[in-house]
């Protein structure tokens, strides 16, 4: 589980859904949640929140992409790799935080990911949970 902390910069609500922008260091993370500031009072601008997502939901790329629907793209340098038979864990150090990703070992080899190489972590907005 990746847990980052940041401050809410905006909350856009429509019906029972909210799109919440959170500033984490110099990065911006966007989450969509089935909550509104009425149902979850902690969803207010400037509030400090935890941004939670699973390692298994983090996609890795060798650079940032424009032609992709994933809005959360956090770039950094690979800090550690733990290689397993089918699955491997890759830790990407961004400017303020490290993000773990679990990908297949095949993908690790195909992308030729090494400790010290550049990598971008991509996370879908609907995979991110927010917590007080």
């Amino acid at each position: 589980m990746n847990t980052l902390t940041g401050n809410i910069t905006s909350v856009e609500t429509n019906g029972s859904l909210s799109l919440v922008k959170v500033t984490v260091g110099t990065n911006e993370v966007i989450a969509i949640v089935i909550d509104t500031p009425e149902t979850a009072p902690f969803l207010t601008t400037e509030n400090n929140v935890k941004v939670i997502f699973k390692e298994t939901e983090v996609v890795l790329a060798t650079s940032e992409y424009d032609g992709i629907s994933m809005q959360n793209q956090l770039s950094g340098v690979i800090e550690a790799i733990e290689q397993g038979v089918l699955l491997s864990k890759v830790v990407v150090q961004t400017d303020t935080t490290s993000i773990s990703s679990i990908i297949t070992t095949k993908a690790l080899k195909k992308l030729n990911l090494k400790v010290g190489s550049q990598a971008t972590a991509l996370i879908k907005t609907n995979e991110i949970m927010l917590s007080e």
């Binding site: 939670i52 679990i102 949970m129």
Partner: protein
């Protein structure tokens, strides 16, 4: 409706404490009472049972006054229609299961009820056995059966399953819920176990320092609303297996076994038997009609 409003000065571990509790229980309801030790949970049950006299207050059970400090009414324990089960089974060691149950009856009561209850509690084959030959779970089943032979209106349970292991506890939970429904009981149970509360009770009361601080639906009170994932369950860790760079944690949620892939760093703080919150986003699960 059972209406209780009692006050009593108590001596607890931290000195003197004033218990001041007002509660209503609907007929047929199953209420769990939770709180730290020494906050007055057991004293509350003892006052309902007539084993402890409140300093002030009223206890009214379906239009019958059991206690009223102003009109000086105090119904004797024998006349209060209730069953009481403690954590230690308090069975008579020199009597068989059948005799333990029969002893709880009044002379005028129909003896047939003993056989009926032995059947409901599946104790028929053990009826001639003495308590020292029974397992903890069986003893507690006998204690529960004995509490039911007088067909009480109220069943009071004081951490009845705390001394039993997980598997037996779940079976006993089913027996208690079945008995609660079968005999149309109004049940009040003191417990610390979150899973037990969610599985058995329809109302939860939380007591702190002799006062009721929260009451309402167990899932609302116990659910952690501070995390935005809408797919939330509480369960118990059954096993932790290592696969490659991850661990697979099996969690018993209600009667269903689910599996969660967890990073190995996180499982270092988890042990088998731990109560856990399992949360996911509402966007992930799929629904299929069966």
């Amino acid at each position: 409706m059972i209406a209780i409003s009692v006050q009593k000065q108590l001596l607890s571990g931290g000195g003197e404490m004033s218990l001041d509790v007002s509660l209503n229980f609907k007929r047929g309801s199953f209420t769990a009472v939770k709180g730290k030790s020494g906050v007055g949970k057991t004293s509350l049950l003892r006052m309902i049972a007539g084993l402890m006299t409140p300093d002030k207050g009223k206890i009214k059970v379906f239009n019958e006054t059991w206690f009223n400090s102003w009109s000086k009414e105090n119904l004797s324990i024998q006349k209060r229609s209730l069953g009481y089960v403690f954590q230690d089974y308090a069975l008579f060691p020199n009597m068989s299961v059948f005799e333990n149950l029969k002893f709880a009856l009044h002379k005028t009561d129909d003896k047939q009820i003993v056989n009926d209850i032995l059947e409901v509690m599946e104790l028929g084959s053990l009826q001639h056995v003495k308590p020292d030959k029974l397992s903890g779970g069986q003893k507690q089943r006998v204690a529960l059966a004995r509490a039911l032979v007088r067909k009480p209106e109220i069943l009071l349970l004081d951490e009845p399953l705390a001394a039993l292991d997980v598997e037996i506890r779940q079976k006993l939970q089913d027996y208690i819920v079945d008995a609660h429904k079968e005999f149309d009981l109004t049940t009040v149970m003191v417990t610390h176990d979150t899973g037990e509360i969610l599985r058995m009770a329809d109302k939860l009361v939380i007591i702190e320092n002799g006062k009721v601080i929260k009451q309402g639906s167990p899932s609302t009170i116990l659910a952690q609303r501070s995390i935005s994932g809408k797919f939330q369950f509480t369960g118990e860790v059954i096993s932790i297996e290592t696969e490659d760079v991850v661990n697979i944690v099996s969690v018993l949620v209600g009667n269903e076994l689910i599996k969660v892939v967890v990073d190995q760093n996180e499982t270092s703080t988890l042990s088998i038997g731990d109560k856990v919150l399992v949360a996911s986003k509402a966007f992930n699960p799929i629904i299929q009609k069966i």
